[in-house]
């Protein structure tokens, strides 16, 4: 599994489930009211949290990049 993750800004509507699941990886920015990935590489210790964010995102906006 690759260790980069991205948020599709077309799909994201700022529901914030990702930040709640993995605050180390996702950050909600006020300027565009969307979620941004703040880590270039996701360490193994955080992959479970990111998987959870992917599952919970209501808009299916988050994915691993290979």
């Amino acid at each position: 599994m690759s260790h980069r993750v991205e948020v599709d800004q077309q799909m994201c509507e700022g529901h914030g489930k990702c930040q709640a699941s993995a605050p180390e990886v996702f950050e909600h920015r006020d300027e565009d009211d969307l979620s941004h990935v703040i880590l270039d590489e996701v360490p193994d210790t955080l992959t479970a949290k990111v998987d959870r964010a992917i599952r919970l995102c209501p808009r299916q906006a988050i994915r691993w990049v290979s």
Partner: protein, 427 residues
């Protein structure tokens, strides 16, 4: 409605026919879904000459799978309701709204308005939602009883969505009437405009939905003409009038369909979450007492109310290619139906799913769907339900159901038509 054939009926697990509005009206669907989850998680529910047959999906994971593959399971061939046929009564092919639109156009249309529905937008609207709630509750202050649906639960969503669309208050009752006709078409109560001999028949339902759509769309064509002549800044109709997709302005039909969707989707669901929420709180006095003693539990209570009531019974999709769900082959062109109340009581996902627990955690229910078509109004719906119960239980701490709820006959909307309540403590 026309019955399914005896041969087809013989194939139904335990004789459960999910086309029957009666099953839902009697609130007996949960037991049916429990049986289906255990014994027939993906089964073919045969149709009739007037209704499509469909694969019935009752497991949480299967709803996730279908919702997350919007190219394989498309919405543009109908999303259910109205007898599960396509095109729905009164709505020709042609103009459609986002709820019956597929990628890639879907998200482009959705993005025209979605900034108005984000958590931040909802937060900004909260004071207004609370003010409207108090106006509604002021009208029943000093009374002993009321019809909670007509006077309270339906009034808040109506005011919020009509306000966002910039519709004057004098038009709101008409919107209420149209949406009842459109989504309540199968219930005799809303068939008042068809000939008496058609009331209660399949034709009566079709005519009622068509009449509701015709009247609502006519209304919005007039509003559109008005907004073009007198542009406004901030309402949803004006935003749509000014919008472009792929360098083209929206057609009149596109805009009217969008407005129709917003009014229907905004009204017919949230009111039932509020009515259903009051019913379930009255049925569970300990949970209610806990909530009234500790109002900070309200957000999580709202999630449990949404899980419990699942105001929308189903959405449907059509498969674009041969595929499989849970090992069952599904052919291209066949319909699948996602049953939300069943997913929201799936034993594999929720501990003790038949327990109403206002502190349930986690509570990742699917009442709003998920993915491409995730409810655009979820933030508003949550805020409306929360603020209504905050104010209602503060101002009417002794409110009680005062007679059986009158439920809607529909396998699409978990509707409550009338709910007699006693507002003050019994003397």
């Amino acid at each position: 409605m026309s019955p399914i054939s005896p041969e087809a009926a013989a194939t139904l697990p335990h004789g459960i026919n999910l086309l029957e509005g009666r099953l839902f009206q009697a609130n007996e669907m949960h037991e049916a879904f429990r049986i289906l989850r255990a014994e027939a998680p993906v089964h073919w529910n045969p149709g009739t000459d007037r209704f499509n047959g469909f694969w019935s999906l009752v497991k949480y994971e299967d709803l996730l799978h279908v919702s997350r593959h919007p190219e394989l399971f498309i919405s543009s061939k109908g999303i259910g309701g109205s007898g599960l046929r396509y095109p729905p009564p009164g709505q020709g092919e042609g103009s459609s709204s986002i709820i019956t639109m597929d990628p890639p156009r879907h998200v482009k249309m959705r993005r025209l308005v979605n900034k108005g529905f984000t958590p931040r937008a909802v937060l900004q609207m909260e004071p207004k939602i609370r003010a409207v709630t108090n106006t509604i509750l002021d009208r029943v202050q000093g009374r002993d009883s009321c019809d909670f649906v007509l006077e309270v639960s339906s009034q808040l969503p109506l005011a919020v969505i009509c306000g966002m669309m910039g519709l004057e208050e004098e038009h709101w009752p008409a919107m209420f009437d149209f949406t009842n006709q459109i989504l309540g078409s199968g219930d005799a109560e809303y068939q008042a405009r068809v000939a008496p001999d058609k009331v209660g028949t399949f034709e009566g339902a079709t005519l009622t939905a068509a009449d509701g759509n015709r009247r609502m769309n006519g209304f919005f064509r007039d509003i559109l003409a008005d907004r073009r002549a007198h542009p406004r800044e901030d309402d949803l109709v004006s935003i749509l009038v000014e919008s472009e997709v792929d360098g083209e302005r929206l057609t009149e039909g596109d805009i009217v369909a969008f407005c129709n969707l917003l009014v229907v989707a905004g009204n017919e669901t949230t009111r039932n979450a509020i009515s259903g929420g009051l019913i379930v709180l009255c049925e569970h006095p300990e949970e209610r007492a806990r909530l009234q003693a500790e109002p900070s539990l309200m957000p999580s209570a709202v999630e449990e109310i949404l899980r419990w009531t699942s105001p929308l019974h189903h959405m449907s999709r059509e498969a674009t290619a041969d595929t499989e769900i849970r090992g069952q082959k599904i052919a291209a062109g066949e319909k699948v139906i996602m049953w939300y109340p069943s997913a929201n009581r799936d034993e594999d996902i929720f501990d003790d799913p038949y327990r109403f627990d206002i502190t349930r955690d986690p509570n990742e229910h699917l009442a709003f769907g998920i993915g491409e078509h995730f409810c655009l109004g979820a933030g508003f719906a949550r805020a409306e339900v929360r603020i209504m119960f905050e104010e209602l239980l503060r101002q009417f701490p002794d409110i009680q159901i005062d007679g059986p709820p009158e439920r809607l006959r529909s396998n699409f909307i978990n509707g409550v038509k009338h709910l007699p309540v006693r507002l003050t403590a019994a003397r």
